[in-house]
């Protein structure tokens, strides 16, 4: 039996770096510029800074310790599993970090002429071609910097498509009630009205409700498939057919692409546009909240509207171009060409895996999810709100309703207690259609032993809920911090060190 790990996470008392001031110490000293004759400052007095900003003054060692101690108070994939549903927190290969730092890639300025960055452009092109092969789409833009940014780009293209056909009245985007919050937010940013489509008992899109919602106002629908319950929309061909017949286009939220990668091509399901989160499916690190990359892929219908520039390969000259020559383009969505550092890492991952490796990664992720689902759903107190006989893809959603009814210990408390067991909490209370939801995605990079540990942690926690429910009042206790007072913070936000100082003076 696996032993639970209840050891203490580091808990350093690290002062705010902003408190260390006025010491006269130096850390990074910029390279000076000395000319024979003193160069003047050409900036008129009224435009110049009068007072130095209050920055810290520390030695290099002090700063190194500051960050290393803080790092020990943080939890990442390198420390343990992060089974967050729809987040695909897989291992971030280290060779990718090394490659992205090659100075030829890292130091390139985005305004360098294309003849000086053929290597970067080739890497971008190779990633585009690989993603086309995996998805069946014909056009790509690497420009969006994150998943939600890709969604915005996608729905803006849908809008441009309808406008080009003089169908401005198509101003509604349909979105299932199980969708990620970014979907309705992105549709709204692109100027659309959002129409919510309920799910049926199976957790799939309700076809009757969909039929009733379709009209001459329908611009399109945003679908996550496999959906956020980890369930494949079996009727996807019919759904997409219905939307197309009504004149709408279909957007695939590719957050869950890890569940079908190399097994199903999204374009063949009838989708017109999708985004892929390279920081999920293609192993680039999440960075504690970013940077990501939300590459967008489209079929021929939407290709004219892709952001510019687009990469063109001239095989005669073996030369890569950035082309702006697309009159119907929606234009720019990012100041430059996207998060290229992330794109290089993703290409290194694809180079390691190859097509077959990626398919195997997907299948392994699905086996891991179903294995863990069997183990977790066998624990008394947890249940599967949807039919257990439906095979899940890369993730599954369990509910703690039975436990909550019996002991009062709910999903939030389970999640917090899991942290004590050195397992990052799953996504909780999402999708919104499941009560007390625990959305779990183990990914293919976790071992069977780790999956068993996760299941065992759940089992022990449920036992604790029945026997010593008082544990949950204070959990987590072995983490870098105890529970935080979020309520008073929301009432009186302290968002900078200066605000904190002012609060100290006038509480």
């Amino acid at each position: 039996m696996n032993k639970p790990d209840l050891t203490q996470q580091a808990r350093w008392n690290v002062p705010l770096i902003t408190e260390i001031r006025g010491t006269g110490k130096r850390c990074y000293i910029p390279r000076p510029f000395e000319a024979e004759t003193e160069t003047e400052v050409s900036i008129p007095e009224p435009l110049r800074r009068k007072e130095d900003p209050k920055l810290p003054e520390v030695s290099e060692l002090e700063l190194v310790r500051h960050v290393v101690r803080l790092s020990q108070m943080n939890y990442g994939v390198d420390l343990g599993p992060i089974p967050l549903g729809s987040c695909t927190m897989k291992y971030n290969p280290k060779i990718n970090e090394t490659i992205a730092r090659f100075p030829e890639f890292a130091l390139a300025h985005p305004w360098q002429p294309e003849e000086t960055v053929q290597g970067t452009l080739k890497a971008m092109w190779l990633l585009e071609e690989s993603l086309k092969k995996l998805t069946g789409f014909t056009g790509v833009s690497l420009q969006p910097a994150a998943g939600a940014h890709g969604e915005l780009t996608g729905v803006l293209m849908i809008r441009a498509y309808h406008h080009s056909k003089n169908e401005e009245h198509r101003d509604e985007i349909l979105i299932p009630d199980s969708a990620h919050g970014t979907n309705p937010a992105s549709a709204a940013m692109a100027g659309f009205k959002v129409v919510e489509i309920p799910s049926n008992e199976e957790g799939r899109i309700d076809l009757e409700a969909l039929e009733a919602a379709l009209s001459e106002k329908t611009a399109g629908m945003m679908i996550t498939n496999p959906n956020t319950l980890g369930i494949f929309e079996t009727n996807i061909l019919q759904i997409n057919d219905m939307i197309h017949k009504a004149g709408g286009l279909i957007y695939l939220d590719g957050a869950n692409f890890n569940g079908i990668m190399g097994v199903v091509k999204p374009a063949e399901m009838g989708f017109d546009v999708m985004h892929i989160n390279l920081h999920k499916t293609f192993s680039t690190p999440h960075g504690g909240g970013g940077p990501g990359s939300g590459v967008v892929l489209v079929n021929q219908k939407l290709e004219p509207y892709l952001p510019v520039p687009r990469i063109r390969y001239d095989s005669n000259q073996d030369y890569y171009h950035l082309s702006y020559d697309y009159p119907e383009t929606i234009g720019k969505i990012h100041g430059y060409y996207g998060n290229i550092g992330v794109i290089i890492r993703a290409l290194a991952y694809i180079a390691r895996m190859g097509g077959e490796g990626l398919r195997k990664a997907c299948i392994t992720a699905v086996v891991n999810a179903n294995y863990l689902m069997k183990k977790v759903s066998a624990i008394e107190g947890l249940e599967l709100p949807q039919d257990p006989s439906i095979p899940r893809k890369h993730e599954f959603v369990a509910s703690s309703v039975p436990l909550e009814k019996k002991t009062g210990v709910n999903t939030l408390k389970i999640a917090k207690r899991l942290l004590d067991y050195k397992i990052h909490a799953p996504t909780i209370y999402f999708p919104l259609i499941v009560h007390e939801a625990l959305m779990i995605e183990p990914t293919e990079t976790e071992s069977k032993e780790t999956l068993d540990e996760i299941a065992e942690a759940f089992r022990r926690i449920i036992e604790e809920a029945k026997e010593q429910p008082e544990i949950f009042d204070s959990a987590p206790t072995t983490t870098a911090s105890y529970k935080l007072d979020e309520l008073s913070l929301a009432k009186h936000p302290v968002l900078t060190a200066k605000m904190a100082e002012e609060l100290m003076k006038n509480p």
Partner: protein, 457 residues
């Protein structure tokens, strides 16, 4: 022989056992049986790369990298907010701590205190630089931050025009369009003054009216110059009841007045150069700063990290706060769709700014300005080169004309001799915007001037 992937957590043997003993099936593909048969690929797609072993990857990318000009052999005079920099060794070492960069967004704050504190420090330090008192935990880049600032101004004022008070790049203009046009927001662009890198003041005054939600001024602007009328532009903006949005190259703030001192309501900008490599344009660091107001803050986009107490001990602790504005709670009514931002680049910039300290920051900012001044002087000595707007103040970028008819050929010739001679301005490719970086030495500028003399002769 297929290379075994070290990135998979279970072996084929283990997989088989898991399928048979726990899941109760023989073949993993049965888990895809609910997918229509004709959608299932019989075999994996063939990709243009891979599979490779790690040594092969290293070799493959080393070769690919060689197709780029080596930065030690190509001196690029390019700025515009993004800059080549030196990354201190200690910085790259600490930021490679897996606990930090392999972490998820800090929705479980009890295990994410490290990243949260770094982001709180970022917010605090960027507030010092801009003079504003709230900074969010980052946007994608300067352009998208400008788009979000315009949207926030519209929410705050209920008005629908954005007046652009500087020359801005075509790319920034394009991003603004995509953020604003779907909401029915109009972009109003007064003309440039003749022989000046600034907007015609009379026209600007006319453009700002009761329909104006925000006036957007860049300091420095896309041609590199700092508008001496910033204070007055802020005044006429506020007289009209509009928000004053200022875009900055954050490196300049060691030398230039913080925008809060000329009454900016929202400050946006680029912070990449604080410890992050330019990476051919991304990841970058979109700065978004504003002033605290109990109501206004609920209209702001992006994540905010707050400092509070641990319930049990009263010790300090950090968490994401005011989340009710965000997409995962407010969905279609959220203030923005942003979810994943640029947290790691923000954390890196906090560490870099801490390393610089007040003296280092000033030296860096001043050092860039001096380099640009020196370069300007060198180019003014050349007969063939026309340094534009010689009286207009600038920070580290300025504009020139080289007096050549074929710009593409000229650029190509200069690249062959080891220089990128600036960026051809979007609206007039005979105008080049030059930018300097910390990597540039006097020898670079002298050699550049000598090369120009030969090429233009």
């Amino acid at each position: 022989m297929k290379p075994y992937s070290p990135y998979l957590g279970v072996s084929s043997e283990e997989l088989k056992e898991m399928l048979q003993t726990t899941i109760g099936i023989d073949n993993a593909l049965e888990l895809f049986s609910d997918i229509p048969d004709d959608l299932i690929l019989k075999e994996a797609p063939k990709l243009p790369v891979g599979p490779m072993t790690e040594p092969e990857i290293a070799e493959f990318f080393t070769e690919l990298a060689k197709l780029n000009k080596n930065p030690t052999e190509l001196v690029s005079f390019l700025g515009g907010g993004v800059r080549q920099i030196y990354i201190p060794a200690f910085l790259d070492e600490v930021i490679r701590r897996g606990e930090l960069y392999t972490a998820y967004t800090a929705y479980q704050p009890e295990v994410a205190q490290g990243m949260l504190q770094l982001l709180f420090e970022y917010q605090s330090l960027m507030a010092e630089l801009t003079g504003m008192n709230v900074v969010n935990a980052s946007m994608y880049d300067w352009s998208t931050a400008a788009g979000e600032a315009a949207l926030m101004s519209v929410r705050l004022t209920g008005k629908k025009n954005i007046v652009i008070a500087s020359p801005i790049s075509l790319a920034r203009r394009g991003v603004l369009h995509n953020y604003l046009e779907p909401q029915g927001i109009k972009i109003v662009e007064p003309y440039l003054e003749k022989n000046s890198p600034f907007i015609r003041y009379e026209e600007l005054k006319k453009a700002i009216d009761e329909n104006t939600a925000a006036v957007y001024l860049e300091m420095p602007n896309a041609l590199g110059y700092i508008d001496p009328r910033a204070h007055e532009i802020g005044e006429i903006t506020h007289e009209a009841g509009a928000k004053f949005v200022v875009g900055v190259d954050a490196l300049s703030l060691g030398l230039l007045k913080p925008p809060a001192e000329y009454n900016a309501d929202i400050v946006v900008g680029e912070g990449q150069a604080f410890g992050n490599a330019p990476n051919y344009g991304g990841p970058l660091l979109g700065i978004f700063a504003f002033n605290y107001d109990k109501k206004d803050i609920r209209r702001a986009p992006g994540k905010l990290i707050g400092m509070t107490q641990q319930e049990k001990t009263g010790e300090k602790g950090f968490t994401i706060t005011l989340q009710a504005r965000e997409q995962h709670i407010r969905r279609a009514k959220a203030t923005s769709n942003i979810c994943t931002n640029e947290s790691l680049t923000a954390a890196i910039s906090a560490i870099y700014l801490s390393a610089l300290g007040p003296k280092g920051f000033k030296e860096l900012s001043l050092g860039l300005h001096k380099r640009a001044q020196y370069l300007k002087k060198k180019l003014q000595e050349l007969e063939m080169v026309q340094v534009m707007f010689p009286q207009a103040p600038f920070f580290a970028d300025f504009s020139v004309r080289y007096g050549v008819s074929n710009h593409k050929e000229f650029i190509h010739t200069m690249i062959d001799r080891g220089f990128v001679p600036g960026y051809p301005w979007d609206y007039d490719p005979s105008l080049f915007v030059l930018g300097v970086s910390e990597l540039h030495t006097r020898q670079h500028f002298d050699r550049f001037a000598n090369t120009l003399k030969e090429v233009l002769a």
